[in-house]
């Protein structure tokens, strides 16, 4: 019994060591309950949870390489994967501002998979929703055996974070937002899985993500090979709408010979300005003449609060651990530990002067 207790303790220490040793510039952000939440930087293979007991995607092997000669793809033989200086973590600092292309290659178009990820056993896993109800990484080894054989079902009952039903004439199909599958239906056949659906612009869905889903699906159908496929939505802070998605793909049996990409696709819509904290939107100046078919939803702050520079007194809830302040109605306020919570009545400016930051979710 004592030996078992000691071995469990050692396993826990080892797990903590491995997690703390992962690279990447990590930013700890407010979770409302004082616990750190990493959202600004994706640390490869450390943020995934899996529903598949047969496959643990939290691998720690060597990163894949791509010699990437100009005229022919380099095959990365799983048996020949060696140590590499390739970055093992994605950072938004790699992503340029949107400038007209729906996606941009990152990390030299080499996915962040490691040798431990390589498998020819199909699986799919979807991360649990976070404390704001947001999706995280969806990961699969896609083979023909898990691809759909039926037409797609209804997904309209799912309301991903940041969702608004809003139309603009400048958007193909009018609707600004689509329920975007992280892993496309044509790959794993997931219908109304809330852990696989985010609020994405029509542009992200059709111009950013669908081309990669098509490419991967065709390859698998034609070869009966497998493709490691991972999509991670990137949220800034407590925003309800993702800035974009990191998409990674790698064909296993041929060592990336035919499928190998690592791209960031922008969750933008040309002609529309989007508030990523809430999902609210408005026509930007370049498309103002077309006018929205339906006015976007406007979320007003509560009557009890003030925004801007007013010195009006109001009730707030403070988190003395994270130095954030919330509206009393904010769901994040409900999660603050009693030892960190303080009810406050006073001005917004006074709180900011005292070093508190407004919660990005309730925007007090």
């Amino acid at each position: 019994m004592k030996k078992r207790w000691i071995s469990e303790l050692l396993a826990m220490v080892l797990a903590l060591f491995l997690l703390s040793g992962c690279g990447g510039e990590q930013v700890s952000l407010d979770t409302g309950d004082g616990s750190p939440q990493i959202t600004d930087t994706i640390v490869s293979n450390t943020q995934l949870t899996t529903n598949d007991p047969g496959k643990n995607p939290q691998s720690s092997g060597e990163p894949l390489e791509d010699a990437d000669v100009p005229d022919a793809p380099a095959t990365t033989d799983p048996e020949q994967i060696t140590s590499s200086t390739t970055s093992t973590a994605f950072s938004m600092s790699e992503v340029p501002a949107y400038s007209g292309a729906a996606y941009v290659a990152v990390n030299g178009n080499v996915p962040y998979f490691t040798s431990d990820d390589l498998t020819t056993n199909s699986f799919e896993s979807y991360s649990s929703l976070d404390y704001l109800g947001r999706c995280s990484t969806a990961y699969a080894c896609v083979g023909q055996d898990i691809m759909p054989t039926e037409e797609r079902g209804s997904i309209g009952q799912v309301k991903p974070t940041g969702w608004h039903t809003v139309k603009y004439d400048c958007v193909d199909g009018k609707y600004l937002y689509n329920r975007c599958h992280l892993i496309g239906y044509q790959l794993t056949g997931e219908n109304a899985n809330e852990e696989n659906l985010i609020t994405g612009t029509r542009y992200l869905n059709i111009d950013g993500m669908l081309p990669f889903e098509n490419m991967v699906a065709d390859y698998i159908q034609e070869t009966n090979n497998h493709v490691l496929y991972r999509v991670t939505p990137i949220f800034e802070g407590d925003n309800l709408l993702a800035d974009g998605v990191l998409m990674e793909g790698y064909s296993v049996e041929d060592g990336g010979d035919d499928i190998c990409f690592c791209v960031y696709a922008y969750n933008v819509q040309p002609g529309v300005t989007i508030n990523y904290a809430t999902g609210d939107s408005a026509l930007d100046g370049t498309a103002a003449t077309t006018g929205p078919v339906t006015l976007p939803t406007v979320q007003n702050p509560s009557e009890n609060s003030q925004t801007g520079t007013s010195t009006t007194q109001a009730d707030y809830v403070l988190n003395n651990n994270t130095k954030k302040f919330h509206l009393p109605s904010c769901s994040s306020a409900e999660d603050i530990k009693a030892s960190n919570r303080e009810d406050y009545h006073g001005s917004r400016e006074d709180l900011i002067d005292r070093g508190y930051d407004p919660c990005k979710r309730c925007n007090p």
């Binding site: 100009p70 005229d71 793809p73 081309p211 490419m215 070869t223 010979d257 190998c260």
Partner: protein
């Protein structure tokens, strides 16, 4: 040469030095079209084909004779446009990632034939034949 290319909805040919798509039925069609003639291609394309008229060379676009076929996937063919007497375009009728596009201005060419057929993984593939 007689050039053969496969294009998506944006005249894309490849992404990250890899083909956008493939289809067994299309390959069979190419093999039928080129039967009895030399079919030049880069080493990358070789594994798609099983027929014996295939000639593999890194410099295939420069080495092909006037009546030979060239199947191009990852190469910018624009510099060789003057050597091309006929262009056969297979359109996937889908959109794929793209960082290499087909840059011929086909409005300057004459469309002499067009045919649609079903592929093995593509609902509709369109074959277009252009001559000068």
């Amino acid at each position: 040469m007689i050039l053969i290319v496969c294009l998506d909805d944006q005249n894309g040919m490849a992404f990250n030095h890899r083909r956008q798509s493939r289809d067994r039925v299309l390959i069979e069609r190419v093999e039928e079209l080129t039967a009895g003639r030399k079919l030049w291609m880069a080493p990358y394309s070789r594994k798609l084909f099983s027929n014996e008229n295939v000639v593999v060379s890194v410099g295939y676009l420069a080495e092909a004779g006037p009546d030979d076929y060239c199947f191009a996937e990852l190469d910018d063919v624009k510099p060789y446009e003057n050597q091309v007497q006929k262009t056969i375009v297979f359109r996937w009728n889908r959109r794929y990632p793209c960082d290499l596009r087909f840059e011929f201005d086909l409005s300057n060419w004459r469309l002499v034939a067009s045919e649609e057929f079903s592929g093995s993984s593509h609902e509709k593939i369109t074959m277009e034949v252009y001559e000068r």
